[in-house]
Each structure stands twice: as structure tokens, then as C-alpha cells.
């Protein structure tokens, strides 16, 4: 029962979604709407479970005396946003939107901006011409970095065309092979899920 029920549900949802792909794109069947509804609502509940789990882990850490101040900041942040939203909703000039635009977003992009420093550091230490492969990697990277710099065209006028050719042919050929590989993998995994062979999501190894 503990395995049969989820596997049956997965089979039914999988087969129905597969069949609906071939439905006339102009028709508006109730079944289609219902399935999409279920899919999104369950997903939303999944996110809620994540939030509850996040807060309970942080609270447990506080009660165990593990970094109580920092874990308190975590919980404070998580509770602050819903509180602000309850005051004046998601309107353009609301407290919630202010907090998002002036506190959360700048910090998040600053964290990402740190990567610029680490990319430079990694380029210095990692991009060494050790063998044929790494020489190719280094050369193409240099062409792109110089050529796509806004003043690259002063160095050589043909950079744009060369980079476009690299992107359209040799680079695309490799990425296309990767895409098809992933596509084949996804098809296989999808079939395994629908027919109940793949059960790792149920905790089976």
C-alpha cells in the first residue's frame, strides 16, 4: 500500500499529462485545467513545507544554543516579510516591496557580485596551458574576453564575426550533443517514473 498508492498516482498523472500533450491546443478541457491546478497547488504546498522546515531547524539550533544570534536573525528575516505583507500587502510602495527592493535585492546581487573576484582569482590559478585541451580552452576564452570587450573591435575588426562563427558552429555542436544527451536521459527517467521503476523520490535506494 505504501508503495502501490504513490506509484499508481504517479502513473495516472504521468499518462494523463502525456496524453494531454496531443490534445488540440485550442480546446480548453476541464481535465487539463484540473491537472495543472493540482500540479501547481501541490508544488506551492511543497514550498510551504520547506519554509516550516527551515524555521523549525533554525529554532532547534537556538534551543540547543548553536549560534543563537545568527539563527535568530534568520527567523527574524523569515517572519519580517509576512508581517510587512500583512500591513499593506504587495502594493507598489508597500513596506514589503520596500524591504525587498532596498534590503533583500541589493544584498543578493552583492553576494553574486563577489563571484567576479573569485572568477578572476580562479582564472589566474586554473587557466594554465597544460595540454592541447587546456590550450584550446584558454585560446577561445581569450578570444571571447577580448572580442566581446566593448573596445575589442579596436584591437581587431574581425572579432565579432569570429566569435559568432565559434558560437554558431563548433560551440553549438558540442552543446547540441550535450542537449540531446540530457534529452535522452530525461526521456528514460520519465518512462521509469511513469512505470514505477524509478522510486528514489519515495526514499527507496
Amino acid at each position: 500500500m505504501r508503495k502501490f498508492l504513490p506509484i499508481s498516482v504517479s502513473f495516472v498523472f504521468g499518462v494523463l499529462m502525456f496524453a494531454l500533450w496531443f490534445e488540440d491546443s485550442e480546446s480548453r478541457s476541464m481535465l487539463h485545467f484540473t491537472l495543472i491546478d493540482y500540479w501547481q497547488i501541490i508544488f506551492a504546498f511543497g514550498l510551504l513545507v520547506g519554509v516550516v522546515s527551515f524555521i523549525s531547524v533554525a529554532s532547534r539550533k537556538i534551543s540547543r544554543g548553536e549560534e543563537p544570534f545568527y539563527n535568530g536573525v534568520l527567523i527574524f528575516g523569515a517572519l519580517l516579510m509576512p508581517t510587512l505583507a500583512m500591513i499593506d500587502g504587495l502594493q507598489p510602495n508597500s513596506y514589503f516591496q520596500w524591504m525587498f527592493e532596498n534590503v533583500q535585492a541589493p544584498m543578493q546581487s552583492s553576494v553574486f557580485a563577489l563571484l567576479a573576484f573569485f572568477v578572476a582569482s580562479a582564472a589566474f590559478r586554473g587557466f594554465r596551458a597544460r595540454n592541447a585541451q587546456s590550450i584550446i580552452l584558454l585560446l577561445v576564452a581569450l578570444i571571447v574576453i577580448i572580442g566581446r570587450a566593448p573596445m575589442g573591435e579596436f584591437v581587431w575588426g574581425g572579432f565579432d564575426e569570429l566569435i559568432q562563427w565559434i558560437r554558431d558552429f563548433p560551440s553549438t555542436s558540442a552543446k547540441r550533443a550535450v542537449l540531446i544527451g540530457i534529452g535522452l536521459g530525461s526521456v528514460t527517467t520519465s518512462l521509469r517514473v511513469i512505470f514505477g521503476v524509478e522510486r528514489t523520490y519515495l526514499g527507496e535506494r
Binding site: L47, G89, L90, Q97, Q108, A120, A129, Q164
Partner: protein, 273 residues
């Protein structure tokens, strides 16, 4: 690693960090903007929007997070400004929760600047979870997936929502920093023949090239340089053009450290031999 080696590695790292910081700072401080020549992708996006009939409706999806906002914002400003100037109506959504907050305020500001009316000329519907379900559901009805807009107004009460499915819009422009354009291609374009265009973070450009050459993706407007190119075509300032000298300076610095790194590597290899 010995103490001396660790100290030397740390010193090198700090030197590189300082170099990155200084090159960008100097680039920003100098009052000079290098000219940029529009690339194939930029011209393709520009001419697509230029050829849309005024009064038509387009879908925009803010598929990015605030982490990459400094790069995505100039791209979004360039594309949205062009659409509004061409009197194209915009229905906007987001497949990321954070894209909702970013898209909502950007669209409102540009809408007001261009004297457009919310609900008639543009609308922001917000976010729904599970991108594949959102895209597939919207193929049948936008107002089914988004019964209310981001601010809680019933979508059926908004005049712009007379466009309710993909066949009512000229296409979708996904302003993205990750893998979501592939969902638009694989579900929106493959199932509903939706025309997909993209304004991408530079780091994603090469991943989507195969879709452009196969005709599944109409065009790629790529990165801050793409935004600067678009600004030069459109004659607006969205922040891309004024960053181009700093971008050049940063690239020169990276080229220098790649060269220095390889020279020191070759020298150390010679010593070992």
C-alpha cells in the same frame, strides 16, 4: 602547503581582488563611453520589435532573480522601453518569485514614464510556481493560471486581458539568467508554436545558441554589452552604455592575469625540467 606558500597565495589573491576593484572603479570614473557595434542577436531582437504592429500584445516573462539584477535590469529596460515606445501592449509574468518583485516595480516605472495606463497598455500578473505547469496552463488560458494580477485585481476586469492565450500574443520575451528559457522553448514553442525571444545573462548565451540555429529561439540579446548595443539603437540610457568602459577595463585586467598566470606556470615548469 607551507606557511610561506599560504601567505604568498593569500597575497596574490588580495592583489587580484584589488586589481578587479580598481579596474572597474577607474572605468566607472572616467567620463568616456566607448561605442559598441550591435551584434547579430541584438539586431534580430530590435528588428522583431520594430516590426510588431502597434496595438498588438506581447508576453514578457521576468525569469531572473535579484542576484543577477544589475545585469538584467539594463536588458529589461531596453526591451520594455522599446515595446512601450512602439505602443505594444505588455502582459508580464514571472516564473521566479523574486522576478515578480523586480518585474512589478520596473514595469510600473517604465509604464508611468511612457504615460501608459495600467490594465489597458500593460499588466503585471505576478508569479506562479512550477514553470512547466505555468507555461502549459497559459497555453489554454492566461486568466486561468492568473485569475488575479500581482496587486489582487481580477484579471477578467482588465481590458488588456482580452488577449488570453498564446495565439493572441505575438510571442514571449523571456528576460532570464538561468534555465527557464528552455522551458519556454520545450513547452511553449513545441506545444503551442509560441515565438520565443530572449534577453539573457551573458553567462547563459552559449547554452542557448543551439536553439537559435535550430530556429526554436528567435533571438538572444546577451548581457550588459547586449543592453548597451540595444541602447545605442534605441537611443535610451538604461545603464548599459555607461558601464562599457568599466567592462572593457575589467576584461583587460582578466586578460592580463591570464597571461601572467601562464607565464609564471611555464617558468615554473621549465625550472622543474
Amino acid at each position: 602547503m607551507s606557511d610561506t606558500q599560504t601567505r604568498r597565495a593569500q597575497k596574490t589573491r588580495r592583489l587580484i581582488f584589488s586589481g578587479v576593484f580598481l579596474s572597474i572603479t577607474i572605468g566607472l570614473l572616467l567620463p568616456f563611453q566607448p561605442e559598441v557595434t550591435p551584434s547579430v542577436g541584438t539586431k534580430s531582437m530590435f528588428s522583431f520589435i520594430e516590426n510588431i504592429k502597434p496595438g498588438s500584445t506581447i508576453l514578457i516573462s521576468f525569469d531572473h532573480e535579484s542576484a543577477s539584477f544589475p545585469e538584467m535590469k539594463p536588458l529589461a529596460i531596453a526591451v520594455v522601453s522599446h515595446l512601450l515606445k512602439r505602443d505594444v501592449k505588455i502582459i508580464a509574468i514571472s516564473l521566479f518569485p523574486e522576478g515578480a518583485g523586480l518585474g512589478a516595480s520596473l514595469l510600473r516605472r517604465l509604464g508611468e514614464e511612457n504615460k501608459k495606463t495600467y490594465g489597458t497598455d500593460f499588466v503585471f500578473l505576478g508569479f506562479k510556481p512550477e514553470p512547466r505547469a505555468t507555461i502549459l496552463g497559459m497555453g489554454k488560458s492566461f486568466s486561468f493560471v492568473f485569475p488575479f494580477d500581482f496587486y489582487g485585481t481580477k484579471t477578467s476586469d482588465l481590458p488588456i486581458m482580452s488577449a488570453d492565450r498564446y495565439s493572441d500574443v505575438v510571442g514571449v520575451i523571456t528576460i532570464a539568467d538561468g534555465s527557464y528559457p528552455s522551458h519556454w522553448i520545450e513547452y511553449g514553442a513545441a506545444k503551442y508554436e509560441l515565438i520565443v525571444l530572449s534577453a539573457l545573462a551573458a553567462s547563459m548565451v552559449t547554452s542557448y545558441d543551439p536553439y537559435v540555429t535550430s530556429g526554436q529561439l528567435h533571438s538572444i540579446l546577451g548581457g550588459l554589452r547586449g543592453a548597451a548595443e540595444y541602447e545605442s539603437l534605441l537611443n535610451v540610457d538604461g545603464g548599459g552604455s555607461r558601464a562599457m568602459l568599466a567592462q572593457t577595463a575589467a576584461h583587460i585586467f582578466i586578460v592580463l592575469i591570464l597571461i601572467v598566470g601562464n607565464i609564471s606556470y611555464l617558468r615554473s615548469r621549465k625550472k622543474k625540467v
